[in-house]
Each structure stands twice: as C-alpha cells, then as structure tokens.
Amino acid sequence: MKILKYLTAAILAVTIYSCSSNETEILDGEGALTLKFDNAYKTSDLLLKTTPYKANETEQIKISKVKYIVSNVRLETADGTVFTYPKNQSYFIVNEEVISSQFITLNNIPEEDYTKLTFGIGVDQDKYLEGATGQGDFLSLAKDAGMMWSWQAGYKFMVFEGVYTSANTAEETAFAFHMGSHGSALDNYKEVSLDFTNSARVRVDATPEIHIVADVANILQGNTKFMLDDAAQIHVDGVKSPQIATNVNQMFTVDHVHN
C-alpha cells in the first residue's frame, strides 16, 4: 500500500515536471550569433571600383575602399537584459574587399531572444588608455588592414576612398575620407543602437544571423552633405571629422534576422 502511494507521487511528479518543461523553455546554455555587415549604395549592392554612383548634385563616385572598425558589441532582450560581449574580444574590422570580414561570429552568447543590438564604430578612449594591455593583437590586425595612421599612434575608424567626377571636375580625381579620434583632443568614437522586428533567438543549437545593411551613400549624403569639389581629402579635421562620424553612425539598419 505504501509502495503504491510512493508510485503515485512519483508519477505525479514526473507528469508535473514534463508539463512545466513544455510550457517554458529553460534557457541556461550558450550559443553563437553572427553579425552580417552588408555594404550597399542606397538600394543597390555595393560594387567596388567598376560602378559609378551618384553622390551630391553633379558628383559621381567610384568607390575603391570601404573599411570600418566595429567594436563593443552589446545585445539586449525585450525585457531589458543586456549582454556585453567581452571587451577584449570585441574589436573587428569590416572590409568590403575581404568577404570573411563581413561575417562576425560571436561565441558564448547566453541563450535568449535578443531584440536590440548596440555596437561602436571605432575605438573608445578607454581602450587606448589601457596601453599595450588593451590592444593585444588588434594592434597588428589594424596595422595590417591599413586602419592605423603611420604618423600617430591612433586607429582609423573608417576608411572611404575612390575617385570622383563632377560638372567642375572632368577628370577622375581621388577622394579619401579617413575618420578616427584625434589624440586627446577629439573623441570621434560613436555607438549605434538598432532594434529588430523579429528577435534573434540564440540557442545552444541555433545560431541566428543579424543581417545589417550599411548604406555607404550616407557618408557623403547623410546628416551633413559633403561635396568632394569642396574637399576631396578629409583626414583629421576638427569640424568635419565628427560630422563624418555621425554620417557613418547613421548608415546602419537591420534588414532582417535569420533564425
């Protein structure tokens, strides 16, 4: 009789347990997530060198280089839980010429349904001030990728180069915008926050991909309009560099999320 009692209790327990596990998924593992950076020119895919694109007024550009540093990635759930990717692993270079650089895979992400992504463009002052400890291998990586200035110990946050023509400039003329922070004088590191319509469901066995479109037309045609006939080379400019940083910051949208 006693045995029967125990048996009943056990069956009941198992039943309750299986019921509850059906209702709410237990999320305590870790998975991965991929950020895909897809550079575009307005509504078209970006093609380097061969394709002329319309910029401001009569200016036409052919783009040869688009590179930028993505850093300090954070993910947020609908209820406001934030996961910060480990800072010392959170610096990446996206280069239009290197396809593999356009897919950033983040590992050891807690299982969650994420609805918001935040990242920086460039390198924050805190990272600089960590000295050699903070830079690790990123220093060599950035140097190799041409993302450091040779005359100052600083990173280029964004490189945008090519040639242009206009009503005033018949011959193809080089343009180059390099944007970064200016020593201790000017901090041009800025962060981007993007919400997505469908959540990125990170699971042990499911790696979602957040497809981010970067409309590089925004560099010349964003919040501030840049006429290449006025200045085709902008490298370290106390007034224009922060405006370029804002234009770059606003060029990102999340197109969709694959689960």
Binding site: G131, A132, T133, Q135, L139, K143, Q152, A153, A185, V236
Partner: protein, 350 residues
C-alpha cells in the same frame, strides 16, 4: 599518536615530491621604482605592466635593437643617444632608414612615466603606443609590427629574454611594447644640481649667477616650464617663424584637426637641456643663447594666435630679458643637467 605522525610525515614527503616534479618556471624579479621626493606621482599605470628586472632588461635590449628597423641598423637608441639626454646629437631633424629625414627634432627620453601624451604634437596618448610611430614611420624605422615580431622570434637570444620576462618565448606586440615601456619608465632624471638644492642634499647650493637665473626663470619662464618636470604639458604657439623647409608642419593641428592648433607644440621639459641641443620642434636653434634671443627678439605672428602669455603689456610679442639676465638664466638651466642620469649604466648601450 606515533602512527598519525608517521602518516603526516609520509604526506609531507609525497607533497614535496610532487612539487619538485612540476615544471620549473622562473619568476621575474619585481622592481620598485624610485621616484625623487621633489617629483609628482607617475601617471603610467604599472598595475597593467608591473616592472621586473627581466622586463626592463628585454626593453633595454629592444631599445638598442637595429632589427626593429627595416634596414637592421636604425634602433631607438640611434636617434636617442644617452650622452645627449637621449636626443640625436648634431641633428636638427633626425634621419632614419635609407638616409630619409623627418621634420621633427628627436625629443629626450627621460621621465616619460610622468607624462600621458607624447611627441611634439601629442600623436600618442599612451607610452605603450608611442613606439609604434617611429617603428612604422617610413622615414624613421620603416618596419611593420608583424615583421618585427617574426624577426625577433627567429633569434634564440630573444627566446630566453621573452621567457624570462613573460613566462614563455612567444613574441607579441603587447609584450614588445610593454618591455619597451618598462625600460623607458625606469629612465628617471631627478638627480641634477637643481634637485639636490631643492632637496637640500649634500649641502648643494646655487652660485650667485644660478640663484639670480632661478629667480628670473621663476618670474618669466616657469608659467609654462612649470613644476619638477619643467613643463605644464600644454600645447602652445610660441610665435616661432614657420619653417619653409617643412610646409607639411602644422604642429598640434595635425593631431587635433583644429585650425587654432596650427603651430602649437608641446612645452618641452627643460631637464638636461644643456645636453639636448639643438632646440625647438625642428631643431633650428643650436644653443640656449639662440633660444633666449628668439624669445626676446625673434617671435613673429605665424598663422595662428600666438600664446597671449608671450605678449607684453604694450601688445608686442616677446619676453624682456637683458644680456645679463640671459646669462644668469642659462647658468640656472645648466643646473638641470643630471650627470648621474647621463652616465647611468642601466641605460647605456654598452
């Protein structure tokens, strides 16, 4: 009771045995940095890069290592010679690989642990990151960090030096830069006659000329060349005429991008100034007399606002000093020469 004792003894023996079987790793010897009592605190964060004898030894080896340059010859020490307060003796602007020249005068390497910005325009905002500029600049050492790493990795002597300093033989940019910083952090110059006078050591006292010079210096120079480091670390336009040989020179503007920073330069420390000639960002002045003559008679409007501190009550640019004043100021400046530092074998190449 006896049994228990034997058992514990046995355990102890076992324990000590396993200890001995562990791989032997040499532990670097920590160094305590001695900061002169009349100096401020250092700003370099040693907690991220603790000083060790082995780290400093590696840093010194790297400082004098020609293989950091593309031609295998131009080391840091090539342009930073100890006898000249770690500047490039006899050169207005320094030359690097293949005889190429830059457009700046090599600055002394001394007391860098007390600074958070480096070079004439603040192009580096951390000591660890500063060496990247000369190593990779095409007219200085013209190398790349990955190439330097692979070169150093191929030499047995560096296996030992890196292992001693960092636990294993791997050469990384982080270790390379940290070792260089450790060596440079130890390069403190604070044992000049001036220091002994202010610290009241060895009954040291200024001569009458030096004392007069010190008073004039305090009244006319120390607003910029202030404190124990003899600089307020600011960037200022001192009204130096634009050098037509170097049209690319923009001073601090090159780093900040602000027009008002055109031809502003870092106020240099004056320690060991007697030995660190020539003077100014482009090394145009050969003597301290030239420098003081410039401040009395040579300042001009040069394209951005000259620092108001260098303007007299009547609106003219310049500092009023008589010939005798200048001689006294120079006598005082020479008390900043630190022969202990200039001859310190810890910093010497050989």
């Amino acid at each position: 009771m006896k049994n228990l004792f034997l058992i514990s003894l046995g355990f102890l023996l076992l324990f000590s045995c396993t200890k001995e079987e562990e791989e032997y790793v040499k532990i670097p010897t920590n160094i305590n940095l001695k900061i002169p009592s009349n100096f401020p605190d250092i700003v370099y964060d040693l907690s991220k890069n603790p000083l060790t004898e082995e780290g400093v030894a590696l840093g010194k080896k790297l400082f004098y290592e020609g293989r950091l340059a593309s031609d295998g010859i131009i080391s840091c020490g090539f342009c930073h010679e100890q006898a000249s307060a770690f500047t490039h003796h006899g050169h207005t602007t320094s030359h690097g690989v293949d005889g190429k020249t830059g457009f700046r005068n090599a600055q002394p390497i001394q007391n860098l642990a007390f600074f958070s910005e480096f070079t004439w325009d603040g192009a580096a905002i951390h000591l660890d990151l500063q060496p990247i500029i000369p190593i990779t600049s095409d007219f200085e050492m013209n190398e790349t960090i990955p190439s330097v790493i692979s070169k150093l990795s191929s030499y047995k002597e560096y296996d030992i030096l890196f292992s001693n300093a960092f636990g294993d033989a791997e050469v990384t940019s982080e270790r390379l830069l940290k070792a260089l910083s450790q060596f440079m952090v130890t390069m403190i110059s604070g044992d000049s006659k001036y220091d002994k006078v202010v610290r009241k050591e060895e009954n040291e006292a200024f001569t009458v000329k030096e004392e007069k010079g010190f008073q004039i210096f305090n009244n006319t120079c120390a607003s910029c060349h202030s404190g124990a480091l003899f600089t307020d670390k600011s960037y200022r336009n001192n009204g130096i005429p634009v050098n037509p040989r170097f049209p690319e020179e923009e001073g601090r503007k090159r780093v900040s991008g602000f027009a008002e920073d055109f031809y502003k330069f870092r106020v240099p420390s004056l320690r060991n100034t007697e030995m660190s000639f020539p003077y100014m960002h482009d090394g145009r002045f050969g003597t301290l007399e030239d420098v003081l003559n410039f401040y009395t008679d040579g300042m001009v409007e040069n394209g951005s606002e000259v620092d108001p501190i260098l303007r007299k009550a009547n609106g003219n640019l310049g500092i009023d000093l008589t010939q005798e004043d200048k001689e006294n100021v120079i006598a005082f400046l020479k008390t900043l020469t630190d022969n202990t530092f200039l001859n310190d074998e810890r910093f010497a190449e050989f």
